[in-house]
């Protein structure tokens, strides 16, 4: 029964990882940009959430209504101000610029909030649980998982059912022809980054309620998100959710064997999948 519990808890944890990964997947899908600063942006969102809850005295989940638009706006400005200049055939500029951004964000947060671990206080939500059979499911993990499914469904719907999604797919397929057809790709990229950082904001707040965080943990979140994307297969959002679940289960089962193995076993499962299925489990585009 302990093992069943580990798998169930891992699945719910996978929802959070899928949220880390969704923004990464979206940006890569639209503009072939891999954002090294993604993890630090998640932590940045968590700190924004912390500031909002402290200054306005609201519940962390209500802080979403402030943090999501702020992060979205930040994403649009970031993309149009800096990242659009790096896009092209050469891989190095976007990689190095986002790497620089990661160092700036990390040390900026360190300067403002110090290195002390912080946590958001969500009151009763943190400890509430629902008993199912002999298992006990935390309300927060279940809520996180539900939000992850909703976000991925929403992104999928945006991609395939709306004019914006059509524009995303068009610039992704061929930038130049999309431009000829009257799409302003710089604006579309800005919107894609805004949407990605809005998702990142949700991920950051949920992370901040679930565990404590400090400015240095961004890199680890980037790696979890990245592993979920690769396990699921590039360009497939539902695959990304599956990848997140696999990673979460690997971690909780690993932790069950030996607590020191939690993160390590996630990495090992990732490497095994990379060895067996280099394109991930459900590939849609070739990377």
């Amino acid at each position: 029964m302990d093992w069943v519990n580990a798998v169930v808890q891992g699945t719910l944890l996978g929802g959070l990882y899928a949220l880390f990964a969704a923004g990464l997947s979206l940006i890569f899908g639209v503009m072939r940009l891999v954002n090294i600063a993604h993890g630090d942006l998640i932590i940045f969102a968590a700190y924004l959430g912390l500031t909002v809850t402290m200054t306005m005295g609201v519940h962390p989940l209500l802080a979403l209504f402030v943090v999501v638009p702020v992060m979205g706006f930040f994403g649009y400005v970031l993309q149009r101000g800096i990242l659009n200049q790096t896009l092209g055939d050469d891989l190095l500029p976007p990689l190095l610029v986002t790497f620089g951004l990661s160092v700036i964000l990390q040390n900026g947060l360190l300067e403002i909030y110090t290195a002390d671990p912080q946590k958001m206080n969500a009151g009763a939500l943190e400890t509430a649980s629902i008993p199912i059979g002999s298992l006990s499911l935390g309300v927060l993990p279940v809520l996180t998982f539900a939000i992850a499914v909703a976000v991925i469904w929403g992104l999928q719907w945006t991609f395939y059912r709306t004019a914006l999604g059509r524009a995303f797919r068009a610039v992704s397929d061929n930038q130049d022809i999309a431009q000829l057809m009257g799409l302003n790709r710089r604006h579309i990229y800005g919107l894609a980054m805004a949407l990605a950082l809005a998702v990142t904001a949700i991920a950051g707040i949920l992370l901040g309620i679930r565990t404590s965080f400090d400015p240095s943990v961004g890199g680890g979140r980037l790696i979890f998100g990245f592993e979920a994307v690769i396990i699921g297969g590039l360009g497939n959002l539902w695959g990304t959710l599956t990848g997140g679940i696999i990673l979460g289960v690997a971690q909780t089962v690993g932790a069950k064997i030996d607590p020191g193995w939690q993160v390590l076993s996630g990495h090992i499962v990732f490497l095994v999948i990379l060895a067996v299925r280099p394109n991930g489990l459900f590939p849609r585009v070739s990377g």
Binding site: I36, L91, P93, F99, V103, N107, F226, G260, H267, L274
Partner: protein
Amino acid sequence: MNLQEYNVTRSSQAARISAIIGVLILLILIAAPWWAGRSEMRLMGEIFLYLALASLWNLMAGYAGLVSVGQQAFVGFGGYMLFALTIFAGLPPVVAIGAAGVLGVIVAVPMAVLIFRLRGAYFAIGTWVFAEVFRLSFAQVSSLGGGSGSSLPVGIVRSIASSRQGREWLSYWLALGIVVLVIAAVYLFLRSRNGLALTAIRDNELAAGSLGIDIWRTKFVVYVVTAGLTAMVGALIFLQKLRISPDAAFSVNDWTAFVIFIVVIGGIGTIEGPIIGTLIFFALRETLADLGTIYLIVLGVVAIVVMLKAPKGVWGLIRARFDLQLFPLGYRVQHSKDKKGP
């Protein structure tokens, strides 16, 4: 126009002069124990080790297109191998440094096979995953101190050289030796057949492949050789520090972020770039280090601005202005008798 009046040469006046100056500087640096103080020698040793790391990263990213953010895997691995081989196998430290390089090559082979399946930026993050696997794995090894790390036993430290001065001199010369080895290796590699293949791949991967260059193999050689040399540099770094812990050994900031900034600011894809970048990096560090985190923010901003405004770095600006090449890698066409017109 008569073709016989033209010849193709690699060398140039600037390259010959810089080679002579380079040898002179090297001789002065070898003699440093007789003119420099203890703290200057320590700083110079650190500069050499960073220059070695930067030159190696530049070979991978600037020439082979392998942008890794996980080189700390090999730095830490080399450091841990130094500790393990001296403590458990009883090897003398200098021998252990060489052995760490060999072991670095051996672990890099299966890693390369796996990680070359990822392309571009995903390759970069994949290398980081490996570095994390190394960090977490070495944290599990309780005989090397687990998560809190361990110090090099006094007996082994004494075996390097009996006096403190002797140890400091030796570790300085080893650092100087490795940076000369690395730069010479990079230079000779780039002038070899493999280097030509690498340059072709950098310029156009598709065209290079269609001309019969084995792209996978060439990149593989670069990755594995770089891994071995990086492991040796790592062993030397921790021979200087005398203490190792997983977080210090596999630090992404210390062994990769700084190195990337050095190469980008100096000029990626040139041998001269990392040298200039290292000097700028240490000049900034010595003047701004008191500012702590602000210094790192400034470094990040400088790197972004350089990448956007002058993607070829400081050396690229100099080269565009003066047409200089201190390490003769390219070929240039010269008119043999300039006075005779066609």
